[in-house]
């Protein structure tokens, strides 16, 4: 049975009407029209659907939209400030941290969320954090380089 759910995404209110089984990822994509959050596995391993929930990176495929009322959700669409890319986006661009771009929104949100919580992560911590998500194209090397570059700028 469908239920009204209020989501707050990137500072904007979305009143949607969904079944309880609608995952946060599907609700963002289908009901809020925010298709930047991608589904790579729907069982919480690949991390492509990573969004920030009250600042924490979470797998949006492992939460139901109905659970997320009154929480602050941030997605890849909210990273840039108008024309101005977020330092993390800019660093991925400059360091060639993406190829097909499918995993990219998840990596961006993961790294932004983690560095906002802990800006001074060292190399090992960064790698440990990034091991949460899968990329099939880049071999990760340039993703790490990008995150390091963005870290310097975000500090």
């Amino acid at each position: 049975m469908k239920t009204p759910v209020k989501l707050r995404v990137n500072g904007q209110a979305h009143e949607i009407f969904v079944e309880p089984r609608k995952t946060l990822a599907d609700a963002l994509r289908d009901d809020c029209g925010l298709t930047g959050t991608h589904l790579g596995c729907e069982h919480g391993v690949c991390g492509a659907c990573t969004v920030l929930l009250d600042g924490d990176p979470v797998r949006a495929c492992l939460m139901f939209a109905i659970q997320c009322q009154d929480m602050e959700i941030r997605t890849v669409e909210g990273l840039a400030d108008g024309e101005e890319l977020h330092p993390m986006q800019r660093a991925f661009w400059e360091k060639h941290g993406l190829q097909c771009g499918f995993c990219t929104p998840g990596f961006l949100m993961l790294a932004v969320g983690a560095l906002e919580r802990k800006p001074d992560m060292d190399e090992e911590e960064l790698k440990e954090m990034l091991s949460s998500n899968l990329c099939r194209c880049t071999g990760y090397q340039n993703i790490l380089a990008a995150v390091r570059a963005a870290q310097a700028e975000m500090q």
Partner: protein, 287 residues
């Protein structure tokens, strides 16, 4: 991979949770962090008719000390335990090490201690730690509250002593003396994955050798197990490389692992020997 239909309730206190669970019986399932439940629902392996979301029951999210015991509320997120200072002494360090082995950061900020214990994955860190430390598991139901010793709690893969109308509300762990030392070693092929085999030990070395040795293993069968013969080998003896090898051999003899695509029975038994020795060495060298 979309989950089957279910009804959803989000009560705000324990009484209400228990009331709903009692009312719906087998159809109900508690949703805590959802990091194991939701994947199995997306695969349509789990098909609860009603999800009882306890994330709004803030009273279940706590870490408290009560005398020589630490009480962990079921809704405590894995990430809260990553901070060794959250719990005093060697127990805090042990929990922080174990917490760090749980999945990945986005899993740890969402997943819960009680949820993991109730899910009863035989490779899960908190299940092994519960058995290692003889945790008391508190179940609350309409007939009241009962305490279940960890070793009785885990029945087999994904199966526990919890009744459908019961909520796992708390796990109680003993505070470890400052002289206690631990070792926690996992083997997985890829970072953050469930262990193929994990071994954890706690020892306390006194003037008369090792006192209160504890050895627990995960990934060796339907439930985490205590390696009692290994503990017997260790008790009262002075730590040495030879002793640790003998204890590790005994641990390997204590298990009859189930094989699967991640590791045959034979390989798992071999890993028990290797990892238990390494866990003991780590404990002995822990500052």
């Amino acid at each position: 991979m979309k989950p089957p239909r279910f009804e959803y309730r989000a009560p705000s206190d324990v009484e209400e949770v228990v009331g709903i669970l009692t009312e719906v019986g087998d159809e109900g399932k508690v949703l805590a962090g959802g990091q194991s439940l939701v994947p199995s629902m997306n695969f349509r392996l789990a098909r609860p008719g009603l999800l009882v979301d306890i994330n709004g029951v803030k009273a279940l999210d706590y870490i408290q000390r009560s005398g020589d015991r630490i009480l962990i509320g079921t809704l405590t997120r894995h990430s809260c335990l990553e901070n060794a200072a959250a719990v005093p002494g060697p127990l805090g360090r042990l929990l922080a090490t174990a917490a760090h082995h749980v999945g990945h950061m986005p899993i740890r900020v969402r997943g819960t201690f009680g949820g993991s214990v109730a899910h009863a994955d035989p490779a899960a860190e908190w299940c092994m730690v519960s058995v290692l430390l003889d945790a008391e598991i508190i179940a609350v139901g309409s007939r009241g509250r009962r305490t279940i010793p960890a070793e009785d709690f885990f029945r087999t893969v994904f199966t526990t002593a919890l009744e459908p109308y019961e909520l796992l509300s708390e796990v109680i762990l003993p505070v470890l003396p400052d002289s206690a030392r631990f070792g926690f070693v996992e083997f997985s092929r890829r970072a953050g994955d469930f262990a193929i085999v994990a071994s954890s030990v706690v020892i306390d070395v006194g003037s008369n050798g090792i006192i209160n040795p504890r050895v627990a293993l995960a990934g060796v069968g339907g439930t985490p197990v205590r390696a009692r013969s290994a503990e017997a080998v260790l008790a009262g003896s002075a730590p040495s490389a030879e002793l640790f090898r003998a204890a590790a051999d005994a641990a390997a003899g204590d298990v009859e692992p189930m094989g699967d695509i991640h590791g045959s029975s034979e390989y798992r038994r071999h890993l028990v020997r290797v990892l238990t020795r390494r866990a003991l060495e780590r404990a002995a060298s822990e500052a």
